[in-house]
């Protein structure tokens, strides 16, 4: 379980989990789940295109996910954001299906790009994954304050001179880079689960940004580690475990919130039927 190829899997998955935990915190904060789903799907088309012209898959992933991020930002400025995202994702998937129809790639290859293949990471891929991971984390901490500001209070931030358009572009590019490094490890469809489930669960447990971010990293690490171990032991696809453990942690977070609210509310309920603050927080 800890030898040869599996060692690559543990290392790459741990890097991905740390970055996903940090970036995911902002995705949840900004409510950008759709973009986090769209970019990896679009990146999948890039990988298909890269295999068509015979270049490295990571190059294709990077080009397509960054292009997708810029297009979403550009179209989203003029129209509804979710519409722009939806159109970008379908155009990129359409290109992906065109590329797939032209290559002679076997179905298992496509499956592993979509759903991840823990044994598919080679030692030579480990370096670019680590480098991109460091860039993402560094970028998040460089723009931490303005990004936080414009995520929580976009109008106030705008008035103080933080351009929310610029922040949107920077944020989407960071998500795109995270995608690039994560797709070879956990697959295009499941990186999404790793991006939002741990962060959403962490937010149920704490309101402090740094604590939530750290907790989200820990939950992400716990998710991938147990997913790898279970996938190794059961021989089932890793994506299944990432997806279900992710949903499980989120459910646990929601359960925690409900339990705490009940416990706090019960002595007061008889008197006023819940305070205005409670009504706001639901």
């Amino acid at each position: 379980m800890f030898s040869g190829l599996m060692l690559n899997a543990w290392e790459s998955a741990s890097i991905v989990a740390v970055v996903a935990g940090v970036v995911g915190f902002f995705i949840v904060l900004r409510g950008a789940a759709f973009a986090a789903h769209a970019l990896p799907n679009g990146a999948f088309a890039g990988a298909a295109g890269a295999s068509l012209i015979g270049v490295d898959a990571i190059a294709g992933l990077a080009v397509f996910s960054v292009l997708g991020a810029l297009t979403i930002a550009a179209l989203g400025r003029r129209a509804r954001h979710d519409v722009a995202t939806a159109l970008v994702i379908v155009v990129m998937l359409g290109l992906g299906s065109l590329f797939l129809s032209m290559t002679t790639e076997y179905a298992p290859e496509i499956y592993s790009l979509l759903f991840g293949e823990i044994l598919g990471v080679s030692s030579s891929e480990l370096i670019p994954i680590a480098v991109i991971g460091v860039i993402c984390i560094a970028a998040v901490f460089i723009v931490y304050r303005p990004l936080m500001f414009s995520s929580v209070m976009p109008d106030v931030a705008e008035a103080r001179g933080v351009s929310s358009g610029l922040m949107e572009v920077i944020f989407l590019v960071i998500v795109a880079l995270t995608t690039t490094m994560a797709v070879p490890v956990v697959g295009a469809l499941l990186i999404f689960s790793l991006l939002i489930s741990p962060a959403a669960a962490a937010r149920s447990f704490t309101d402090r940004p740094f604590t939530a971010m750290g907790l989200s990293v820990l939950i992400a690490l716990g998710t991938v580690w147990s997913a790898i171990a279970l996938a190794y032991l059961s021989n089932l696809p890793i994506g299944f475990f990432v997806g279900s453990i992710g949903a499980g942690t989120y459910a646990a977070g929601r359960g925690w919130v409900a339990w705490r609210r009940n416990r706090r509310a019960s002595p007061r309920l008889g008197a006023a039927g819940g305070s205005p603050a409670q009504a706001l927080s639901t």
Binding site: F34, D82, S97, L190, A200, G243
Partner: protein
């Protein structure tokens, strides 16, 4: 006349049975997607619409294991997912995308499992590509009546609650004040969305279903502010793009790499995207449209 048209319509286009099925099914699905999609865009639920297409793949892949038609797997899975989304909070705009995303993540995990089992246990090859990208040319014509019935159901639900649906889509508060059962309308609409999306995801692939749902409707809402007119325009754009896409895919049989033609979904998606971008350039900022869209966002 025939000699004049043959460069456009490759020989045998209209007499080919798979093409006839594709035109018929594609047209029906495009009309329903246009009608339902108009409300999806107005309600800002594009993500839910797209997610249902992806979530359905879990049902579609499970049905290969059970040996039933994927269509029923899609519909069953989507109705269940719509129920869960509604239950964990699709109504609040802020947490809505998150609720959708969590359900989507869990369903994709299941899809991974089922597709893996398809390949190993029941050795159904090509299930991944078939379920995700669909194939309009390989539809059995026996499925056509079922698709038409489901389409009528989805469109019927939307038309039956047409006015309350418009009101609650534009402003939930206003609708509530007028005595519209907003939550019930929302659930009814989600059912229609789930059925429409399963149909299109099953017949023309998960990608295309999102394109047909969102693209024509977003374009139509650029052109007009009136929901009814927008639904008609959206249906027309969807049908035009689908038919043209089928035609181009048929013609592309002899094009470069020549491995049996280019995929229909590529053509349809590209056409829809170009129409949308074109409408953006032609119908720039319209104050009323802008205001009503921010109102929907706030709602």
């Amino acid at each position: 006349m025939t000699a004049f048209l043959s460069p456009i319509f490759e020989p045998g286009f209209f007499s080919n049975l798979p093409v006839q099925t594709a035109l018929l099914v594609g047209g029906v699905v495009a009309v329903v997607s246009g009608i339902v999609g108009t409300f999806t865009v107005m309600r800002g639920q594009s993500f839910a619409g797209h997610s249902l297409a992806d979530i359905g793949t879990a049902g579609g892949s499970a049905s290969f294991l059970l040996g039933i038609s994927p269509l029923f797997g899609f519909v069953a899975m989507n109705l269940m997912a719509a129920g869960v989304m509604e239950w964990i909070g699709i109504r609040r705009p802020r947490g809505r995308d998150l609720a959708t995303g969590i359900v989507l993540g869990a369903a994709l995990g299941l899809a991974a499992l089922f597709l893996y089992l398809d390949a190993t246990v029941s050795s159904t090859t090509g299930a991944t590509v078939n379920v995700l990208f669909g194939s309009i040319f390989t539809l059995p014509s026996s499925l056509v009546p079922v698709i038409v019935i489901f389409s009528v159901v989805a469109a019927g639900i939307v038309l039956a609650m047409y006015r309350p649906l418009i009101l609650s889509s534009v402003s939930a508060d206003l609708a509530k004040a007028q005595g519209v059962p907003v939550r019930l309308v929302g659930i009814g609409y989600l059912v229609a969305l789930a059925v429409a999306v399963s149909l299109s995801a099953m017949t023309i692939g998960a990608i295309l279903s999102t394109a047909l749902l969102i693209g024509p409707a977003a374009t139509a809402l650029r052109i007009t502010n009136r929901p009814g007119r927008a639904a008609v325009i959206a249906a027309a754009i969807g049908v035009a793009a689908t038919w043209l896409g089928v035609l181009l895919a048929y013609d592309s049989y002899y094009w470069f790499p020549s491995r049996g033609g280019w995929p229909v979904s590529f053509f349809v998606v590209t056409l829809i995207f170009l129409i949308y971008v074109g409408s953006q350039l032609r119908f720039r900022r319209r104050p009323r449209a802008e205001r009503s869209s921010t109102a929907t966002q706030a709602a």
